[in-house]
Symmetry: C3
Subunit: 157 residues, 3 copies
């Protein structure tokens, strides 16, 4: 048993149920595997078919709501990862990089706090294997008016 | 003949003529090869030396015009790829990831439709090898006031 | 001695003193190593604990100031790289990709000029090994209200 050999159990312990990963839409797909890495497309905070948060922080969405949305983006990204490794998340060796885009008003400065919603979920779930590089930025608009979008790269075996 | 062995022919069939890839500008270059992957710098919708679309969607540029601009960004990125494989696009094994930035008004929600202009061109040209991961986001400004910027990563042999 | 075998000396010749790389903050870390590449998290223009530039270009920050800020982001990223190779920057084989985010007013078009502050520093320091792919975009907001954020990927031995 490696130090990483209990991710699926931890998922259960954390009460997380992964959604069915989205279907490929035409030529653009939820994830591509290349050279031992999984590149997950930008995920928005869909939960049970609904966006958890739309519009900019902090005028339409609070920082706390945006954090929860970032966490949901991460859950959706992990569901895509799971689909790439036959559901066995112990095969994920390292979460390498997160790109976090936060829809916000001009001059909003707390993208890192919002992005922590995604980063902490990943840290809690994957432990040392979940320690990732990150670029978090603000933007004025996102697909379907989502408040947060998260893309992810991971190495797997 | 592999399933991927006709990209240059398909290019011709689709009536696409690749532009000359841009010259390196100082220390920043159109593409870098590392570990079997080509990383293409962000491409803007230059065609015959002119930007096809400038300013934000949807106030200054329609979604359809922005789609065409995204398609042109993809053509320019493919021209850079071609330059990295001695013009033989059959050596491209997989388009791995697209980053698509759409200059738009705050709250604009149709970045995926705009980005499909790039994704569909790549799918039409490369087939299964063209199925890519993607992050599409909105931004308030882009280089030279371009409406779209597309960066790309691909694996090659 | 390889053509790359004097980066630390060049650092001295250029009068550059690398800062101590930032400490890991929880589950998100300054850099992750995967498959021979170092992925450096987004760096902001911190110098001696202070941001060199905050707010958007060109209304609150001039292009020249933003360039200097981009240069500082690159210095901070190089400090993180140095920490990953025991201080021996000669082990950096290639700076592969820079992602440059410039906080700016809508329609600002000179992100490439701002980003050159980072690219030229890297070119001056690493020579041919510093020739990188780049995506430079504008955004309406960045962490801590920083004017520029730079993320970086490099291959090392």
């Amino acid at each position: 048993m490696t130090s990483n050999a209990s991710i699926n159990q931890r998922l259960t312990d954390m009460g997380l149920v992964l959604p069915t990963p989205p279907e490929p839409v035409a030529c653009y797909v939820p994830a591509v595997i290349s050279a031992g890495h999984i590149h997950v497309s930008g995920q928005i905070p869909l939960k049970d078919g609904q966006l958890m948060a739309t519009g900019p922080v902090p005028t339409k969405v609070t920082i706390e709501q945006a954090q929860a949305a970032a966490r949901q983006c991460a859950i959706n990204a992990i569901a895509v990862l799971a689909g790439c490794v036959d559901g066995d998340l112990d095969r994920i060796q390292q979460i390498v990089r997160l790109g976090v885009f936060v829809q916000c008003e001009a001059g909003f400065a707390d993208q890192p706090i919002v992005a922590n919603g995604a980063s902490e979920l990943i840290g809690d779930l994957f432990g040392a294997s979940g320690r990732h590089a990150r670029a978090a930025v603000g933007v004025n608009a996102l697909p379907l008016n989502a408040t947060v979008e998260v893309e992810l790269m991971a190495r797997f075996a």
